[in-house]
Amino acid sequence: MSAIVNGSSIKKGFGAGTVSDDVKSHANDPFVLKKVEEATKTLQRVGLPGKKKK
């Protein structure tokens, strides 16, 4: 279930965010770790554009 609260904050064009101590690292969330593992395997297999793995 996602967090749902009330309010509004739409901006136009590029702009910097607000640095906040309330924004915690999610690097070790299971979903993120799984995505990084999958990405690592894919990139090991296919390489980068113009640098195809032999």
């Binding site: 279930m1 996602s2 967090a3 749902i4 609260v5 009330n6 309010g7 509004s8 904050s9 739409i10 901006k11 136009k12 064009g13 590029f14 702009g15 910097a16 965010g17 607000t18 640095v19 906040s20 101590d21 309330d22 924004v23 915690k24 690292s25 999610h26 690097a27 969330d29 299971p30 979903f31 993120v32 995505k35 990084v36 999958e38 990405a39 690592t40 894919t42 990139l43 297999r45 296919v46 390489g47 980068l48 554009p49 113009g50 195809k52």
Partner: protein, 149 residues
């Protein structure tokens, strides 16, 4: 870019970005997290994007919020990529949905914003284990690789 986007907050190290999607379903907490692919040289970062669970507090992209603001959400994610690059350099950024249909949603989002995105970013799509220059409406890609110009 000159698109509508949500205001967001970010962590001190500019790896994590949080904003709220606003629409018929209410205000939904969204998260973008950049993680370096281990041992990548040049550095490649994985972009993880999804909702923040009220139950676990963790990022999860298995939820489909359908808040009728996809373009604003995608523009916000693009904005976080620009901000990440401003602080960490113009590295390759890898993105893939957790399912084929979600990856397809990412592709539709990139396509709908293509005129703006293509100005600032090189975008590649993974097809048949090969990176191809992204072409809107041409292929169903398996993943995406983005690099700011």
């Amino acid at each position: 870019m000159n698109l509508e986007r949500y205001q967001y907050s970010n962590s001190n190290d500019y790896h994590d970005y949080e904003f709220y999607s606003e629409g018929p379903k209410g205000r939904i907490s969204k998260m973008v997290t950049f993680s370096r692919i281990p041992n990548s040289d040049p550095a490649i970062y994985n972009l993880a994007f999804g909702d923040l669970s009220t139950v676990t507090g963790e990022l999860d992209d298995s939820v489909s919020s359908n808040n009728q603001d996809r373009e604003i959400v995608l523009a916000t994610v693009a904005n976080t990529i620009v901000e990440f690059c401003n602080h960490h350099g113009n590295h390759y950024i890898y993105a893939k949905g957790s399912t084929a249909s979600r990856t397809r949603l990412y592709q539709m989002g990139i396509t709908s914003l293509w005129e703006e995105i293509s100005i600032d970013f090189e975008v590649y799509g993974l097809k048949d284990n090969d990176w191809q220059e992204f072409e809107p409406n041409q292929n169903n890609y398996d993943a995406f690789l983005v690099k700011r110009r």
